[in-house]
Symmetry: C2
Subunit: 403 residues, 2 copies
Amino acid sequence: MAYTYLSHLYCPRCENRYSANELYNLCSCGSPLLVAYHLEKAKKEWHYEQLHKRLPSLWRYHEMLPVTDPENVISFGEGMTPLIDMRAIGDHYDISYLQMKDEGLVPTGSFKARGAAVGVSKAKELGVEAIAMPTNGNAGAAWSLYASRAGIDAHIVMPKSAPPITHKECQIGGARVYIVDGLISDAGRMVAKAAHKYGWFDASTLKEPYRIEGKKTMGYEIAEQLNWQLPDAIVYPTGGGVGLIGIYKSLQELRGLGWIEEDQAFPRLVAVQAENCAPIVKAYDEGNKESEFWPDSETVAFGINVPKALGDFLVLEAIEQTNGCAVAISDDEILKEQERVADLEGAFICPEGAATLSAVQQLREEKWLARDDHVICLNTGLGLKYPETVETPHTVLAPDYEI
Amino acid sequence: MAYTYLSHLYCPRCENRYSANELYNLCSCGSPLLVAYHLEKAKKEWHYEQLHKRLPSLWRYHEMLPVTDPENVISFGEGMTPLIDMRAIGDHYDISYLQMKDEGLVPTGSFKARGAAVGVSKAKELGVEAIAMPTNGNAGAAWSLYASRAGIDAHIVMPKSAPPITHKECQIGGARVYIVDGLISDAGRMVAKAAHKYGWFDASTLKEPYRIEGKKTMGYEIAEQLNWQLPDAIVYPTGGGVGLIGIYKSLQELRGLGWIEEDQAFPRLVAVQAENCAPIVKAYDEGNKESEFWPDSETVAFGINVPKALGDFLVLEAIEQTNGCAVAISDDEILKEQERVADLEGAFICPEGAATLSAVQQLREEKWLARDDHVICLNTGLGLKYPETVETPHTVLAPDYEI
């Protein structure tokens, strides 16, 4: 049996095909490229019963991942994150079966590790010696550390407003870090130029085809954790949208593999954005197939501060095809929700994750979600990475103080 | 089949027995209490083949955990952390098979979550409504968040020098946090008094018998991950020593269950401390059965700044019984090692974890470890929780800067 059923790359917009054995960024038409597998063959040869004895990492699905030689796998044991019951919040919002998939429990403390694991492994396989990327923080941290493990040089450009803690992760990973007095879009321009000038591989979001393969494993895991049943809705914080595109891709593959029933409805996919950076929500509301650049975007949920995503049309398609929707949440509500989740459930989640739980409340109030829907929210990272969201009092007691 | 084979509590010093259905702190002789199980019965009824289909969390070993009703289990999916190959560092130190068990990948980002998960679950089962504990940071953070999930009040006393990020975790978990201008010993005194005054359960390290049960699961997992073979040495950062005591206890239980062969040698257990807080190392060097209070202790590895551990005699016994040893590492070397691990392996680990890898280098140089020993180091937490250990440059580039 093959280690992977990898077939080729294809353009979801113009249907051009490319070899998966050579290095590509975008399609010549400007669209991101996606990875295709020999699904029919895999369906005959590979069954989920074979997963039981495998390690609880995303590499358990290596047949549907793009790495051809296991020697190229760069891993810190990422994946198979827990699905946690959220009974107290569920009761609070009148949802009988609410769960949170906790992506805080991966290396570097954010779901970006999934994309980095697969993206860096494939870059190594294709002979990449140096990568460059712009980042709002977490992706840069993840790619720096995985690149370090792979022996690949990393050049990371981040806005000065990116969380200091992610800067430190890049730094200790040995990346060359450039801090720019500007936005992620300025960082992106610097990267594109430098990549061209020095021959570095531009690993910007969706400019390389493989990180999405890492992120789609969230979908495989949810299905496996639910014993190949699917929830009614999956609620996802959406910046670049790679996670949502990936989960939608995983559902299509799972159907192709016959691991979920042909007539099993896909979960409705919900994209959650911040009120002050909601291009996907706007496009969804207006019935458009692409989003427009969102000027002067700003939000405490730094990871979803993406004014215009390269894969916006894929996100909107995933929402449409699953009868999903898109919702915007205010920063105020996000921070309140973060506290509520810690208070009621004991989980210290990131603002992006908190936004999804707020969205659940809103969608339940609007009756878009029913009481007995099985809803899964994605917490995409550790609250720990955003220590400034929690205020602590400063009273210091004398050592002989009596409580 | 029973959910647990829990039998009773016993004192490892005076052999007194106590019921496991009532709340106890220490033995009347002042020693910590340990948990006993019906091993003979479990050996007949429970086999590791039954583990395959269970979730990858520490609760997969619930037969050897103290909770009797699964409804009382408070879990965020903690446990079954990855064993990561450290080939580059191994090559560097001339060890052919070096692995790191990464306890950064648990809720709250430190191995303290294991103790909190089991300790809080059992506290809930025994009807505890409020706990109090002194902490250097990570334990308080873990217990606060698990207590919040259990609906138990938490009173946490920490020295003002504890990492601010752990203070924030306690805070958002809804604990009442008291910051004291003193040491962990001052915090401990405040807790003991207040617990007595208000009827709170004193959950100080080893003053409650159950956190050790959570931590012993590291030993179960290592054995399962190695397919019930054992490594030659396990290297552990040692403050209170609960992890090491727990791993030793797990080895004895695994032998009792017949899951490891009767004649299979236990791994040599190595306790690693910081040079400026090395009471166990001193006792080991001098051949003593207990340690002495270490005055003016100070180390960057905050989690192992414990001048006198209540369970020191159990740590020293575990070392002696396994032909292990105890090693002290300087703060300078710890910080250099932390950088080296990120540089060579891409892992951003905590200073305590870095100390164990330094210890491997030292023990290999001294030929205490052989080239072909299979050595497992424990990284007890995320490097992320110690952002101040990484310095970052502050040059900010203009948005039109050309790299």
